[in-house]
Amino acid sequence: MTIEETEQEIVDEFELFDDWMQKYEHLIELGKSLPIIDSKHKTEDKLIKGCQAQVWLHSELKDGKIVYTADSDAIITKGMVALMVRVLSNHTPDEILNAKLDFVDTIGLKQHLSPTRSNGLVSMIKQMKMDAFAFKVKSE
């Protein structure tokens, strides 16, 4: 699946929900299902500091594609992190660098991407792209 296809899949999924409660319940479920980051990667240097919720992110290059694993101490943030990982993981650095991630807006969760320092999500996305860029540069 391309990044856009996964984004569309998520949009379709969220369209099933009538209200915010179902949406958040789904997000919380996703959070629980996130492949937890290997605890050996849950270290200070993998930590993306938010003012409140913390995010850990680990990136690896496998066969030219990046595999992300991540975690957060807040479950809703973890749900959001799960969505990001699902969309971006297993893609080439170039694909990741070009991703717009408009789906967050479409499913009505844009507020989680506001730069209010309260969670590490915005910084995590930046970090995902920076890692992609680093892999790209290295492999060139």
Partner: protein, 415 residues
């Protein structure tokens, strides 16, 4: 509105009061707003909004130096505002009231100026573990610069200062004690008279961070006998951008100026500058004139309602919320001091405060989550932060019910 009716005995006419605050009728996420983030900033009554409006429409001019009518009139109004603050704190003299940008600015001013004159290598400054960063970092900064040592009064599990430890920390090396009057995270009202008496017995001055006290309880700086008192207008129903430093004349006179520039001087030359008298010596540059006017309007409003009534009414809210929240499983109240004001912090076993805040927001309930700029305190409790509910006199038991229901729902979803 049954719940509300029962507390009307304090003399708080809640419906009339709520009508004074336009923002309270806002909807958020389709729900009526329940604003429980008063500790962060309070909403403003029409009186204050109108005062700002009027200032900019009819009175705006720069103060102090103008000979023209507008300038003269607004200078008087601004000095009257200063006097309103003086009366509110029962300071002895209007020139002991310095307009600043806020509590943080006030504390930075004192830390910087006081340290230049009085703090040297090896000296000590005492704060407490429960302080807001704004009452830690300025002291940490000057201590670092001067080779002095910052000591912190510890707290017990209830969130009260361990006074025996405080007495032990007081020493001939102590140059100043700086503590919160009321803790922003715990709501604890600290025994400041005792703290001050003990410090004064050793000739040590005391600064009180009153950011969370002034909105909730009567403050009398002469009765307290504190040497410095700081608060922010925006937390006491006034505008953003302005705050107060009260300082005893003898200290303010002895301390060197902090910021310097227009307004702070008698004469300037490249050889020699003579600084102005109090309070101008500490008020460099064009002040927040509308802010001063707005703060005075806010204090007038508060005094019309009456601080005794406010304290009693809020006490009722706090007790009610405490009782109700205790009924919920897995909720632990953070801060169970005997003396508390306006604030209820809690943690929920196994749930991150951020998640609770996010879901409550969906229900229109605005609370604060996180470390509340008190990281050392939160570290003491070994938690990632708290959910903080903070009240003002326009809140109601009905709102507390909405909050409690929402909290139950959130916990169910997150467990």
């Amino acid at each position: 509105m049954n719940a509300t009716k029962t507390i009307d005995t304090t003399g708080i006419d809640i419906e009339k009061i709520r009508a004074d605050f336009p923002l309270l009728s806002r909807k958020v996420n389709g729900k009526p707003l329940v604003y429980f983030d008063n500790g962060a900033t309070a909403q403003k009554p029409n009186r204050v909004i109108e005062a700002l409006n009027h200032y900019y429409r009819f009175d705006n001019a720069n103060i102090h130096r103008g000979v023209h009518t507008l300038s003269r009139e607004i200078t008087l109004a601004y000095e009257n505002a200063r006097n309103t603050v003086r009366k509110h704190l029962n300071a002895a003299n209007p020139y002991e009231i310095v307009f600043t940008k806020g509590t943080t600015d006030s504390i930075n001013l004192v830390a910087s100026s006081f340290a230049k004159k009085y703090i040297s290598r090896g000296d000590e400054v005492i704060v407490s573990v429960m302080e807001h960063h704004s009452n830690i970092l300025p002291w940490q900064q000057v201590c670092e610069e001067r080779g002095a040592i910052l000591k912190a009064i510890p707290i017990n599990e209830a969130g009260e200062l361990v006074m025996e430890e405080y007495y032990r920390l007081l020493s001939p090396k102590t140059k100043i004690v700086a503590v919160a009057h009321v803790s922003n995270t715990l709501g604890t009202i600290n025994p400041v008279k005792e703290i001050i008496a003990a410090a004064h017995a050793k000739n040590i001055p005391v600064l009180l961070d009153g950011a969370q006290a002034v909105p909730h309880i009567k403050v009398d700086v002469q009765e307290l006998d504190c040497d410095f008192y700081c608060f922010s207008a925006h937390k006491v129903f006034g505008p953003t951008g302005v705050g107060i430093l009260y300082g005893k004349e003898k200290w303010l006179n002895a301390m060197p100026p902090y910021q310097v520039g227009g307004g702070t001087i008698k004469t300037v030359s490249f050889e020699k500058t003579e600084y102005a008298d109090l309070p101008l010596k500490f008020e460099a540059g064009t002040p927040d004139i509308s802010g001063g006017i707005g703060l005075a309007a806010a204090l007038d409003y508060v005094n019309e309602i009456g601080l005794d009534a406010i304290t009693e009414y809020e006490h009722g809210l706090l007790q009610y919320a405490t009782t109700e929240i205790k009924k919920l499983k897995d909720v632990k109240i953070i801060g169970t001091a005997k003396e508390k004001a306006g604030v209820l912090s809690f943690a929920v076993e196994g749930i991150h405060p951020f998640d609770i805040g996010t879901l409550l927001d969906q229900l229109g309930v605005a609370v604060r989550t996180g470390h509340h700029c008190t990281q050392p305190l939160v570290a003491f409790y070994c938690i990632p932060g708290t959910v903080r509910v903070s009240f003002a006199f326009y809140n109601t038991k009905e709102e507390i019910n909405i909050f409690i229901e929402g909290l139950e729902k959130a916990i169910r979803m997150l467990k």
